[in-house]
Symmetry: C2
């Protein structure tokens, strides 16, 4: 495994996830066609599959990747996709492009985008309750993912992001860290924790995976804030400059571009230090690569 490049490794992992998604998502076959087409469109149009890949990596570290591990990782991607579909809605971030393609509501209409997101979210928990996965493990995965993505996680983060004036934090710095932790980092954290959980890693290692995911997720969001300023629409595949336009609180608007870059570098380094001794040939490389991403 260590003889291929990081790029090849990521491509293989992405293929594994994509193959599963394409085969396991409901298929257009005469009933509910447009809804299913919309679900497939939203999931299949792209994405780096970073969250499910992190999940698979932690399964590789502590065990073997089998069908259950791939299913669980793919469920994280379904959940991530639903959040993008709903976040892009006119009442939310109002984005027209995502991954270089029209957003779901631009292509299929607003009602369809709402329903598509609802269906993906529900399907995510449906997949996690699949009989392939041991009941005890399955329940743990559902608990981890629902904790990370509900009101006290991703949805809560999106809420504070939408209504910054409602923030109870004393400083903007503290508020921003909380937005990013809830909105982005908790799902990264859940992905890593789920990967270790499905491999039945010792509890302390599962907690370590969880903590690492949180730090990596924070770095990811810092870099996202930076890319919104320095990248191009072509490279990023979505509208850029929206944070400033929508007067969003981001690492760049709060600290300025230079300081944000330094902070992102420090956060990535912290994440790397947490996993540099783990037996995986690509995890540290993936972190380094993320620090240098342009899309």
């Amino acid at each position: 495994m260590s003889e291929i490049t990081l790029k090849q490794y990521l491509s293989n992992q992405k293929n594994t996830i994509d193959k599963f998604l394409i085969s396991e998502l409901p298929k257009v076959r005469g009933l509910l066609d447009k809804l299913i087409e919309t679900m497939r469109y939203s999931v299949i149009i792209g994405g780096k599959r970073l969250r499910p890949i992190l999940s698979l990596i932690f399964t590789e570290i502590y065990g073997n990747v089998n069908e259950s591990a791939i299913r669980a990782a793919s469920a994280v991607e379904l959940l991530h996709t639903y959040s993008l579909v709903h976040d892009d809605l006119p009442a939310m971030d109002n984005d027209d492009y995502r991954r270089g393609e029209l957003t779901v509501h631009k292509k299929y209409g607003e009602a369809m985008a709402i329903l598509c997101g609802d269906a993906l979210l529900t399907l995510s928990f449906n997949w996690l309750s699949h009989q392939d996965i041991k009941p005890e493990t399955s329940i743990k995965l559902i608990r981890i993912l629902s904790d990370a993505s509900g009101y006290s996680g991703m949805v809560g983060g999106q809420y504070i992001d939408m209504y910054p004036d409602e923030m109870p934090f004393e400083t903007k710095e503290e508020g921003l860290l909380n937005i990013h932790k809830l909105k982005t980092a908790k799902l990264f954290s859940a992905a890593c924790e789920m990967g270790a959980t499905i491999a039945e890693a010792p509890e302390k290692d599962i907690m370590h995976a969880k903590n690492f995911g949180l730090e990596l997720g924070l770095s990811f969001q810092m870099i996202d804030d930076i890319l919104d300023v320095i990248s191009t629409k072509e490279e990023l595949g979505k509208s850029i400059g929206k944070d400033k336009e929508q007067d969003k609180l981001t690492f760049v608007t709060l600290y300025g571009l230079d300081k944000a870059k330094v902070m992102a570098g420090e956060s990535i380094q912290k994440a790397i230090n947490m996993v540099k001794d783990l037996p995986h040939p690509y995890l540290v490389k993936l972190c380094e690569d993320m620090a240098n991403r342009t899309s």
Copy 2:
């Protein structure tokens, strides 16, 4: 138990559910306040709690109602509430009133309504994965509820209802039955099936509960169609006459009011026949009561 009236029985059961919801829903305590307020508003403003009550009834038939049974039944109500919040959105059915109160988006805004629904849906599965419930049972409940409420269930039904021209059915009659089955009856069915499952009823009894719930849910939706025409806004607590206004396919628009009433009566009778021999003092009465409901 058999000495109290049906009304008293339903009131007791509703209190049990309401008490659980009020105590277990997240509380406003300085973080995420408005989101949590919105979630509590949407759930607590009312409703007859019919779905969770059906769930408790089937637990009573085959076992004892404990904290787990109440939690599972309440999770069904969370899921039902999310569906109302999203269905009321301007891009969907565009309703201003629900249960006599302003709908969530009218009171808190559209973004908040989307997030509130997402949070309730996620919380529903979170509650079902609670450690109080045995893992094997928990997984079954999650599978039942996610099957009934996702693309091939409630969300799918809402989709066909929104886009009737996409229906693949040869006749309108067949299409209508499918809309109502998916949109309404499957969740009733899941509620009954979950109640029997948590009581660890024999498989054939669980299937019977499921089939009964489907029939009862169909009757419920037929009556809903009728009430949209013959009831008043005050009695129903929501806008009336909307089906005709929005040119919806309903039992009344398709068959006319008189025939729709006859069909609803026949459907309720069919449901009653399915449970008249079950050892529960209120289930048949509840069905009869439903046939005569005015709200």
